[in-house]
């Protein structure tokens, strides 16, 4: 049976398992209908022109893991932010792990989506926010909505500055031959509140995984949200990340996406402005090789005047890897004095690597500052010779140059431990033993 049919036919069984009210049931049913009509996206659609899911969908994915799987802390410790006290919401094969997690209800909610969806005390919040910014048209988001049950639920009350970062990690044990998971995260950040979140999807062996994740983030007035996505998975893991962000006036939201691993990764990152003087930052580093594929599909919807958006994506491609950057900036008629900036720099290390870069600016206001720049090149040979002349061997010189190339993105990581971790992942990825201590 094809995956689409399998998903549709398992819907009733899924809904019987989860205890939800009629509103959610209706919402799920119509989402499933949308998915049923549209199916998985194909390359015929403009938005999926450069990314094909065909090969991935051929796997016979299990939709629900058969049993609870346990893992030892020692096996997964390396994926946490070491030496740092954090809140943790950890899932194993889509199931919440009490043992590995560190949640809270003390002054803020860092807990489970399944509780929020089923417990009466959260009903009002769920009614207000759940599925409000996520697309009702996009088929994969609808598919996630239809099966939305587990994930992280984060609610930061007004004026709360959360001192500890929050880590959301989805582990796949590989105990199933192939597993599809659909996490659903909801993040609500109150007025003047501030939070830092790190999200990661990690397979623990090489059995194929397909993750179709949806995250909704609501930033209220003057809220500050720093969100980091660490994608350094096994080369048999596939990730479709759909993130929808709704910003109220004077809020500042940044999303950093670090794509180093996985077989196929698609990041749909959407910002919607609902207020003035909003600041949005979208940054990314992609370093891949072999036959890896990473597709960044971004949208910033400028709806109101005096808002800013800053996009900066750096890509380094080796082997036969493929990168895609499609950055859409939409400036509505009312959104005067918009300052929208987009930068996308790419380095190709091999003749067989491909980058498809497409800036897409649609501007309906007449007094705006919008700029975009895109470069595709190789490593600067003069710089290589210069560094080698100073005694830095070729491989290390190359690595240092590539790290330097990404520095506009790494420099704005606000959690030092994360910054160190990213530097280490980059060093490993580039097969050098260097600290890059800048």
């Amino acid at each position: 049976m094809e995956l689409k049919e399998k998903l549709i036919s398992s819907f009733m069984a899924f809904e019987e398992k989860v205890d939800v009210g009629t509103e959610l049931h209706d919402l799920r049913t119509s989402a499933l209908k949308n998915f049923e009509t549209k199916g998985f996206p194909t390359k015929k659609e403009e938005a999926w022109k450069y990314t094909s899911l065909n090969a991935v969908l051929k796997n016979d994915f299990s939709l629900f893991p058969k049993k609870e799987n346990n893992i030892e802390v020692s096996d997964v410790k390396k994926y946490f932010l070491n030496d740092l006290d954090t809140y943790k919401v950890i899932f194993i094969d889509g199931v919440f792990s009490t043992f590995l997690s560190s949640t809270t209800h003390d002054g803020l909610d860092v807990c489970l989506m399944s509780s929020a969806l089923t417990k009466p005390k959260y009903k009002m919040i769920i009614d207000t926010y759940f599925n409000q910014v996520a697309s009702k048209e996009e088929s994969l988001t609808s598919l996630n909505t239809a099966f939305a049950y587990e994930g992280a639920y984060i609610n930061i009350p007004k004026s709360k500055v959360v001192e500890k970062p929050i880590e959301i990690i989805y582990f796949s044990t590989g105990k199933e031959d192939a597993l599809m998971v659909q996490p659903r995260n909801l993040v609500i950040v109150g007025e003047n509140a501030h939070v830092q979140i790190v999200e990661r999807h990690q397979s623990l062996n090489e059995n194929p995984v397909l993750t179709n994740s949806v995250t909704e983030i609501f930033a209220q007035k003057r809220a500050i949200v720093d969100y980091y996505k660490v994608q350094n998975d096994e080369q048999t893991a596939n990730l479709i990340d759909n993130t929808y962000i709704s910003q109220k006036q004077e809020s500042r939201v940044s999303v950093h996406t670090f794509s180093f691993g996985g077989n196929l990764t698609r990041n749909n990152l959407n910002f919607y402005h609902h207020g003035e003087r909003i600041d949005s930052t979208l940054k990314g580093i992609t370093i891949i090789g072999d036959k890896q594929h990473v597709d960044h599909y971004t949208l910033v919807n400028h709806e109101q005047p005096n808002c800013e958006s800053h996009q900066n994506y750096k890509t380094i491609l080796d082997g036969q890897s493929t990168g895609v950057f499609n950055g859409k900036i939409y400036v509505e008629k009312e959104a005067q004095k918009t300052d929208a900036f987009q930068q996308n720099n790419n380095i190709l290390l091999s003749d067989k690597a491909t980058i498809n870069a497409k800036p897409q600016l649609e501007i309906f206001a007449d007094d705006v500052k919008c700029s975009h720049g895109c470069t595709i090149g190789q490593l600067d040979e003069n710089a290589m010779f210069y560094m080698q002349q100073r005694g830095i061997p070729k491989k290390e010189a190359k690595a240092l140059l590539m790290y330097a190339f990404t520095s506009e993105v790494t420099s704005s990581i606000k959690i030092p431990e994360l910054k160190a971790k990213i530097a280490k992942i980059i060093a490993t990825k580039l097969k050098v033993n260097m600290g890059f201590d800048l």
């Binding site: 002349q389 830095i392 240092l400 420099s411």
Partner: protein, 246 residues
Amino acid sequence: MLTIKNLHASVEDKEILRGINLEVKAGEVHAIMGPNGAGKSTLSSIIAGNETYEVTDGEIILDGEDISELAPEERAHKGVFLSFQYPVEIPGVSVTNFIKTAINESRKANGQEEMPANEMLKLIREKSELLEMDRKFLSRSLNEGFSGGEKKRNEIFQMAMLNPKLAILDETDSGLDIDALRIVANGVNKLKSKDNAVVVITHYQRLLDYIVPDFVHVLMDGKIIKSGGADLALELEEKGYDWLKS
């Protein structure tokens, strides 16, 4: 220390060096002068191992070993230093981090431990003072937004840190005002010893007022056509190069 024998080199089939012979002993300062396009920068690049050029004939011998097949970093590890005419800007790498990496990679290659952090800091302080460099300068991205003079000063700072056996200064005087020239020349003079050697490549005599050479060579059309003492530089300053053309 350095012996160059019958060196021929070309780039894209165009012959640029046509049989260079040069002998530089420890403790000596050599100046290589010549008009634009004579092959001066090519010679310095080739000694340092730039792979853009193809050595078609001849040998480059450093302390008895032919280094002409070695990678640039291997030559650097053996004590060859080239001060670039146009130092490369590397955004995102600080001056300090770059020099630390360079020193430790050289030490690693020579089977030594990494330099302890406090020793490194002390050395950085000492050498940056020698070149009259501002502290803030050291945390800036390498050469990014540096003025011409700052770039050259940074080159000599790196030379001071790495303490090379053979230093080649390629047009180090270009882009320097007189104060910077004095500081840079003073730096080079302080680093000179009986165990190392300096090859100064220059268009003008100006730098040689400060770094006095033991030998002056004239490079024209890919060959050294005349060699002499420090007076030769003065003569060239006065008469130009045309009189040497046969």
